[in-house]
Subunit: 224 residues, 4 copies
DNA sequence: CATGAATGAGCGTTCATTCAT
DNA sequence: AATGAATGAACGCTCATTCAT
């Protein structure tokens, strides 16, 4: 590593930009790179949602060297976890927006879940893969932080849900969301991994039916 | 083949074999050896339910050579699948017995599910692992056969379930079992993979709560 | 193993056949089995002349157990060598017959070589395979015996050849046969191993051309 | 990149790198490493020309990790093929040089063939091994490219040969070279694989005799 | 003689990660 | 910060041969 003195010599001219701005710019650039890598991983994964992808592929798709990827993500598992979390947050964001628009009823939630997860060729395979690696390969600090963030989303959206359904007591919203999510995850694993039955055939319908029952058992019976 | 008389002469005293049969020539001895390998795999897996085990470990635990294991199972994935299926069948068998004893209500099912799956350190991790490998690594013929067997169990137990709950129409029993199973599988993945929260703490309770809601939404409301 | 006394008891009736005949019958039966195994190996090999075959395949094709094959051939290499030698002897036998019929000129030899080796999908691949294993995997005693037998054939046929060509001195016939054989073997390896150029296209023609030159260089110029 | 001045400061005394470059970053360094691996393979092979070598041995001999070898050669078969081709090219290069020096008569060719192939403990065993694996284990694109390169060499040297021998028509040179090569390859397999008769005894003499006949049959009779 | 279950050494290849440049 | 060459542990599977039955 080069000493400060050296640096002063080799970068003699560019002195100007104020510290804060510079840092901010760098931070922006860094975040941009991160997103670019995630986008690359997503692209690669979309081409073959089931196959386990390699870091070389991701790096190539991001037009970066393999080593560079490791400057932004400490491991493959955490890279994939970050991608997964981005998708989770997209879903929660959509749910919150629906909540603000007063459309957080069963149909509204189902539609968003369908759009973000059920119909995405990526969401559920990636979710399963990441959950499997969570405790085997991810440092516990990272795992805990991830779980805490998801919990917070869950709690927040759960609260919103409780506004819409009188039958839900405090915490009941988060709990309902959680079990709904579990249900979807489990059903996908039991139904989807089959080339004979491509994705959306019965899966969408079966999930809807089960979710409807689950919600009916929790809150005042929905339309059905 | 030697006559009984001869046998009496040449093996005069020792009636039962002094040691475990070294070679499995009869069909039942072969089945026994198969089970022994499965037991060995189970033992190895129990020591570290999360880690991916190797065939060498299994062979060693079974006191057999690596190649011998491959006489009984064509691949690691199919060995694990067989182990998983054995556990699945144990559960279904227990459910059928409960059905015959007229105890196939929610509490009865929950208790059996708890005993066989929730409380087993093996069942759910193995289930997830096998489901993940089902389409990636298992020949489609084997996959289809496995699915068909499980479907048959599901249908049979579903029918039995429909006897107990007037609210279930034909096929509703299997469907309810299926979504219950999905729910458990999903919740396990979301909750369990954490060394900080060892298995049975909240998991059991949360699963019960969610299952109860699911069933309540499907059939005449259970006790709760 | 059973004692003589036991044998006397368990095979009480069949006493008659004279020793010699019996041995001869057994020897015949044994030889028949040997040939049957060789035929099975040939059949398997014909199905895929390039692939390395397994003893299990041979045993199955011979409708015998794997272990039984080892009662007749001490190893896979020697089994294949025996098969190869049988083909070599077929060729030599045909050459001798041609010699006795006075047709051991170039055209006659070429025709027989073509029929037995060039046109056979088995001969040359097997020859190369066996030659490769000769010193690596075959006991030296077996190797020497094989070489001696082939040398004898070579010498005998060489002598016959010398009758037809005044230009050949003593030993020249065997030498010419030997180099002809080498030429064919080498050309096959350089030309054949290609899916793009299936066997008989140019190979036959090129071999003939080269052989003709070789013979022309040795003896009084042949017809061409 | 650091300026010369800087370098002078940070690495004040030692001018040339004290040890072999650890990383091959430049194209020529990469080529050098490729050659080093080939040299290592050659060394290992020389120790036991018949035995099938392993990549681990090659890597160890090259003082590299096993994985590194795979950065330069996609498979063992292609590594060996590259080594073989290097030897083939050495031979063709020598033939061309002889041609330019006007010494491409029979004696000249024989001497070069002797030096490069017959007397090398490596050349012919490796040639046979590579020819055997060419269609079984090498991607067809690689195979075709290899064959094309050898064909080009053959054609070029064949043309040169035709200058020296009036009796050779167009294409006759390549054809003569080709059959000569076949003859050598075949004779080596028939004669050499024997520990009782180490290489150079009769082999050299027999090859010469056969080649002489082959050439005599093609062109104006050489001295003999 | 016949069987076929059991053996176990042997190996090429991948790929996440590191670190010299 | 960026690169990409180097690393090396990890592993499932085959199959010729043996030998208990």
């Amino acid at each position: 590593m080069r000493s400060r003195a050296e640096e002063a010599i080799t970068t003699p001219i560019v002195t100007s930009p104020p510290r804060v701005t510079r840092r901010a710019l760098q931070a922006d650039a860094k975040e941009e790179r991160r997103q670019r890598i995630l986008a690359a991983a997503e692209k690669v994964l979309l081409a073959a949602p089931h196959r386990e992808i390699g870091m070389a592929e991701v790096a190539q798709a991001a037009e970066l060297a393999k080593g560079t990827v490791y400057l932004y993500f400490p491991s493959k598992d955490e890279l994939l976890l970050a991608l997964h979390e981005r998708q989770v947050e997209d879903l929660f964001r959509a749910l919150l927006q629906a909540s603000e628009a007063g459309r957080l009823d069963f149909e509204g939630v189902l539609e968003l879940v369908d759009r973000h997860a059920l119909s995405s060729p990526l969401y559920l395979p990636l979710a399963v893969r990441c959950l499997a690696s969570l405790d085997a390969a991810v440092p516990s600090a990272v795992r805990s932080a991830y779980k805490a963030r998801v919990s917070a989303h869950l709690k927040q959206t759960g609260h919103a849900l409780e506004q819409h359904f009188a039958g839900l007591d405090s915490g009941g919203g988060a709990s309902l969301l959680f079990s709904s999510y579990s249900l979807i995850l489990g059903m996908w694993q039991l139904l989807s991994p089959d080339d004979a039955h491509p994705y959306p055939l019965d899966f969408r319908r079966d999930v809807e039916q089960a979710l409807r029952a689950l919600w009916r058992g929790r809150v005042a019976p929905p339309s059905n």
